[in-house]
Subunit: 283 residues, 4 copies
């Protein structure tokens, strides 16, 4: 073996190298850690977990009213049971001989456009409708136009409304009530709650029946009211659902079992492929 | 193509099949969701995010004193900057054309025994030392014996003490102060804080210099005081660090860049392998 | 604790349940395993790894000519060094106390639209150009129209052409040579190789300089010639790059190190955030 | 915002920085790529996928006899159907709105000690038994001692023998037959095949019935005969099973469905937790 080292980099490259990793979130020196300028020892004991989430993502500390709504959105979406692919994956992973961190990773990973993206899409939809109201449209007209634009781009699944299991998602009205209270107290403006309700009304008009707001639609109202950009609605959902994922992975660990698949061993998947046949040229 | 369906399962199998997915965490009916028996609409607005984490993992709601300590442990470990592999991975993933959920998954996934397991190991170490005190040993003797047992099993890296960057981790003393206050008010017993300090003293005696408690050692004191089993210390760290992971992935997204690796493109890794050679039998 | 079991499912549901997991890939009975109808004991010793990949994805065995091209595409894209995020992630993960499977997962996970999607997009682009030729256009006109359509939809990065490190990617001409040989022998039709070259010529015309085909563009020619749908080009790239990912994770394991980040510990990322400030209301 | 840049690194640090990423696998210069010293354009067309896997992991090219056995081990373990957690996870992930790379990652990730580690453990077991033969023991005695050592360390599950679904795994005898043929032709030594058969015989003696070698045990014979270290047996299994994972993720994509969980929506998991109760202090 030989060692073929590259020529020493130029001074200008050195700078580029150090600048390659650049952040405004955390500043460290030996013995010193600051997040967004705040010393960690000052934050500890004065700032809760949800407030810290806000600080890390937004750069400033939230007001008490803002923090309360964020807590509600985060705590209400932690789990929807083992029928959800993410939860089932966490439980199966926990039986395969990997760590809780790995079980969480395999599960959080599937919170993609279909499983975890409804909140992100709903925030974008509310932003659109609210902007149309700001531009002078009546809420109902803004809702109709925003909906039409969304369906043209993304198809018939309108995120945030309707539920294949719950005729009425019990989480949504309670979250909306909290938003209304916060708006009455001036903690948030209420424009996106208005937009969401106008969209719900427009959907009911179009379909001839109520398609009630679900958990994704309601947490999206909160995230939009709190000023989070749409992609962070998915990020926050991942933080929230990670709790249920961890709880189920842990419960499965306690139940035991090795290598648990989706169905018990005595069941076989239905096979609908080629009938038995010989390999050409084989013995 | 043909369809070769399996014989219909027996009635006994049906039961087994339904029992294959079993949980005590969440109970649902159409329009109804209960966690650990509590209706979600009753929890929303009355229970914060950290309390919900406790309920999901422990089955009961925490007291205010317990919830306060859990908040502190969770908020203090969210981030240690882009030099940590998990944070760097999140930032690189964010430039590769995957979702925030995927960036979070690749990053949380590496919080294994070395990167994320110190808290879990420290809780187990404190449990061991505290149990020896309960069995009648003086704290210093219990610490010495527990340490010896740990090092024999796991090697020279004692989790929770010492830091390769911080001469003194600024997070640990502040967290211990909160534990002391909580113990003084009767929220926790204080046995594991005592065990941790005895281990710190024993380490200093053995090494001839202070090896101060770090963030993993301090959060482990809290998790042990709060009664979490050791593996959940890793799980809780994953929840906590997920916040920093998300924040850095998001910041990187805002900075832009495509396909960002660990070093700028003008740098090449050092090659120390075989010199150029021909492929036997090739052209 | 009580046990609230659900009512027994109906017979019709039972059927639905068994049909929930349905496949044409594998059929098993105790002591018997068939893939696409072929008994595993007949396949073993008669079919190589690349042929098995083809069988699993396509449902039939490849001809020798097809298998040879697939081998070449798979073996040529295994690795592009630790500057690639996927490889760096595999190496960092290997130092964090997780298994090789976990290191591979964190790394394969980032082969998204930007890092792993070029082949998929290039196949789609070639399909489009070849279809325009089939519809009667001259290859140059087809290339121009297909390119224009792609850029309008996806932006200025044309997948499969140009390389930020290699002025001329040494893999592409050799792979194209194999395609030409296979076309001359009738193993493949050559339409997509023609389309790719017409696109390369059109790009050169537009930019005023050659933007030579790269590894993604060349393997995409092979996958398109072999009849793979575009999304499988990404899947096949993931299989291929998994080899480099595994090799680097393993080499890093042998080099040792614990918790290796992107830069050595003595370097700090540049901080460009808020200056030090007090926490409002804290101590 | 201010910018607090770190002091410029010392010259000695610069070297350390460049050496931080070091490899003997791949060497690149603009327009040039070499793996283990071989130019990529020389490898393409002369080396197949399995041979490239060997080169990347071992540093040298395999002989034809070695390559043939590696092909057989890799192709025989690609899939064991949707009851395996890894395959089920890949299929569920594919319905959640993530890419094929993400579906593969979530699935490969669970190939841990229980689901993917049997081959690794079996290689280590064979190494141990073969070393005892080398040290002078009769094969039967070596097998008994190696087994006893394994069970004491790892518990009662002896990896590589017995199958919960197949009374006799149809893959194992055929793979062993290939090993015997390769040994007869001098491609491999045959010591580990001997060790594996002695362990099978010892197990039968202990249990009073045959516990036949399974796919993990048989591929482990091949990997051990070929000189792979035990951890790479897991890595190679991950490469192999990635093929089935990709094929099932792709088939599920073609079947359609959104957000598919482990059981159909009309089924609910059995709930065995707390009965309904009020939240203390709520409403």
């Amino acid at each position: 073996m030989n060692t073929q080292q590259q020529a020493a980099p130029q001074a200008a490259d050195d700078y580029a190298s150090r600048d390659w990793w650049r952040t405004g979130i955390i500043d460290m020196r030996p013995g010193e850690i600051r997040y967004r300028g705040y010393a960690i020892e000052d934050l500890i004991g004065n700032v809760g977990f949800a407030q810290m989430i806000w600080l890390m993502l937004r750069g400033e500390l939230p007001t008490a009213g803002q923090a309360g709504l964020l807590e509600a959105a985060l705590m209400s979406a932690v789990d929807h049971g083992p029928q959800a692919p993410s939860i089932a994956i966490a439980r199966m992973a926990a039986t395969c001989g990997v760590g809780l961190n790995n079980a969480m990773a395999s599960a959080v990973n599937v919170l993609g456009d279909v499983h975890g993206g409804a909140g992100e899409q709903a925030v974008a939809l509310y932003h659109d409708a609210a902007a149309r109201v700001d531009a002078g449209l009546a809420p109902a007209d803004a809702a109709r136009e925003a909906l039409a634009g969304f369906v043209e781009l993304h198809g018939k699944f309108v995120p945030g409304f309707g539920h294949r299991f719950h005729p009425r998602d019990p989480r949504a009205p309670r979250l909306l009530q909290l938003v209304d209270e916060a708006a009455a107290q001036g903690h948030v403006g209420g424009r996106h709650a208005q937009a969401a309700r106008a969209i719900e009304a427009e959907l009911a008009r179009q379909k001839g029946r109520t398609i009630p707001m679900n958990i994704d639609g309601a947490t999206a109202v909160i995230y939009a009211e709190l000023g989070f950009p749409a992609p962070l609605a998915r990020g926050l959902f991942c933080l929230s659902r990670s709790v249920g994922i961890l709880a189920h992975a842990w419960e499965q660990t306690q139940q035991g079992g090795r290598n648990k698949g989706p169905i018990p061993r005595q069941y076989l998947p239905v096979y609908d492929g080629e009938p038995p046949r010989p390999v050409p040229g084989a013995g």
